[in-house]
Amino acid sequence: MLEAAWLIPAFPLTGFILILLIGRRLGEPLAGWLGTAMMGGSFLATVAVFFGLVAEEEPERFFIQTLFTWVPAGSFSVDIGFLVDPLSIAMCLFITGVGTLIHLYSIGYMHGDENFSKFFLYLNLFAASMLLLVLGDNLLLTFLGWEGVGACSYLLISFWFKDEANASAGKKAFVTNRIGDFGFMLGTFLVFSAIGSIKYADIIVGANSGALTVGTATGITLLMLLAATGKSAQIPLFVWLPDAMAGPTPVSALIHAATMVTSGVYLLIRLNPVLDLSEPWSLSLIAWIGAITGLVAALAAVVQNDIKKVLAYSTVSQLGYLFMAVGIGAYVPAMFHMITHAFFKALLFLGSGSVIHGVHDEQDMRRMGGLYKMMPITAGTFIIGWLAIAGVPPFAGFWSKDEILVYAWDVNPALWAVGLVTALLTAFYMTRQVILTFFGRTRYYDAHTDEIDAAFAGRIDAASADIEAAREDLVKAQEAIDKAIGDLPKREEAIEKAKANLGDATAAVEASDPDTEGHDKLVKALDKAVKGISKSEDALAKAQAKVAEAEAGFAVAEQAQVDAASRRQGLDAARRNAPAVPSHVTAHTAAPDVSEFEDDLPESYKARQEYHPHESPWTMTLPLVALSGLAIVAGGLNLPFTKDLHFLEHWLEPSLFANEHKLTASGTEKIVMAAIAVAAASIAIAAAFAIYWRGKARPEAVENPALALAVNYDKAIASVAGGPGTDGFNGAAWFDAKVVDRAVNGVPQLISYTASKSRSLQSGFVRSYGLVLIVGTGALAVVLLRSLVL
């Protein structure tokens, strides 16, 4: 059944091709089912090969299936060949197993996405690449898979590329990984120059037979370490993994937790004969890189509020554990933890995806809480994942993590201490995450800071508009007053004039003879003048009344402005004192009291009140249940009690060539180690409960950004790369354009210039050609004859 090995990558590759050709026509959900079926087929093929391998005698468990020669180049040739041995099949089993579950989950998660079939296209291509990486019988084929998974990782991180942030997260992952790939290529070249072949079988023979010197082996180890730090997100290249969470959650689970990120560790374990040969300090370097990455990432995970970012830093931290294990030669515990981690971290990621799906794409844990009532299956399985990663017996994570810690103690107690602190932090931040997400008050409905701001912004804008209107009224009132006052002199003048008329009329009446006819006329004029005065006096009074009225209006407007301004001041103060949405929350953080301004809250708030978090469909919960089952029992792969229970160790023996570290710790020591680990986990869980559940201490005390070295490192890298780094690259680009390109283009330009100059020799005159010919012949004759004569 070993011959079925080629089927393992062939299934997802077929899926990729089929979805490529007819994926759009299949649409949702058929394309998803096709992809899932192909992964399932791959899993069945792996199981078949596994049983074929079990049937072989132990030393014979090393089978190479060569399909065809890929690169024939003289004495050097590279085959498309699959190396089937316990190590590669152990990897394939959990890659295809977890992969199938995640494919199934994705059918539910990607429901309604416009690029549904494209998602499964990428997922199947990823699976095929990953299986090539694991099964390849030479470094070049592994590199093909290595680049394939990198490309798929890029495509899937920036799957929702319309959002600029997602696209740049994909770029960041790809570029960071290129640095590691550079190490892989140089390492491959070094292997080739030292051994003359890049087949693993030849490398193993070369390392064991002494064809490889210690110096070369160290060089290969260091270069492959660089490659592994890229893919497996270790210091100094881990910065891409937290950003990779921009992709859809199944991608985070499959690629950035369970499979692809373990390929660096796999590569190092695969090359264990080379590692064994190299200088001890290079192995210590691997162990310390792992230990410090584990610690730094765990510290960063404590301050994260994004549910996926916590898990991302947690993944970096757990991969650090794997590196530490590889560095101390604990290959079996490394594989053990890799497998259990694949189960429980995939479980946790899928659980967080289910939560995100249920609460309408909310990722901030500060806005979750109390979700266990609404999504009981997700909560239950997530809690199993939490217990597994926190190292609570008898869940899987306890056994594998404890194994690594025992080996670390055996080799270097300092490594053990760092590992223990990491374990403690792991239990702490995971407990925090579980409490914040599933327990306590449901903070989902709470108003967000920006929503409260928006509510006040509306009112403040209204008050500001009132002030503006009052100001306009004032201006109008002022104009009215000015106009009315302007009328007053005219009226007074009219009175003066009327009075003068009256004087004239009185004098005229007195002067005239009352008996004459003109007298009556004059008396009439006098009456008229008297009336004119009273009329003018009336007009003046009216004008004065108008002035008084306008002044009153002015006063009203002034009052309105003062009122509006004080209202605005009050609102500003109210906004400052508005119910604070806390940046650090616990299970019982009170909701901001928005009763006073509820009606002003924006639509997003109202829409949220209508929406109710819900449990995910069965395609999503079934993988959760299956993975939680595995997270409980996977510890049984390698129970420490008796030698007979070391199933994984026996299984991997043929691939490790007895290069692994032999444990010297006594049974008692092991039990003490386990007890200390359990105690540490318990203390951390209790501390997290005290802070986030019981409210015994304020979360600010631990959520200190200064502790998040990993985040600060990321920022520092970004600022260097954005500033001097960019200048450096611009300089390199300038050098390339001005010096390299000119040198390259200069040669043909020189040739072209010479040719155009020598073209003029071809005059077309046959006689001049003849002359040249004859002169040349003469010259030749002279030379020849001279040599004859002399």
Partner: protein, 101 residues
């Protein structure tokens, strides 16, 4: 006065020089062509002279090759010259400079 090889060589040199001189001074394509033939045959004479003097048949067999090549050359060359002159009856060789670089 005995006729020795020298005479033949001198004749050959004279004919060759005449041919070379003619090739460079004349402009009529046909005459230039004849000058080339003259040079070829001058060389043939020297070949035969040396062959007879050194009693080596290699020289004479070389002459055969030259004659064969010359015959082929005449076929091609004359047809080109005829074709040229038919197009432009009073043409000189200097007028055909279309292939100038």
């Amino acid at each position: 006065m005995e006729v020795t090889e020298t005479w033949y060589l001198v004749l050959s040199a004279v004919l060759f020089s005449l041919g070379a001189f003619g090739l460079m001074t004349r402009r009529n394509p046909l005459v230039m062509f004849m000058c080339v033939e003259l040079m070829l045959n001058a060389v043939n004479i020297s070949f035969v002279a040396f062959s007879s003097a050194l009693d080596d048949l290699a020289g004479q067999s070389a002459v055969f090759f030259v004659l064969v090549v010359a015959a082929a050359e005449v076929v091609v060359g004359l047809s080109i010259v005829v074709a040229l002159l038919r197009r432009q009856p009073d043409a000189t060789a200097d007028e055909f400079v279309e292939m100038r670089g």
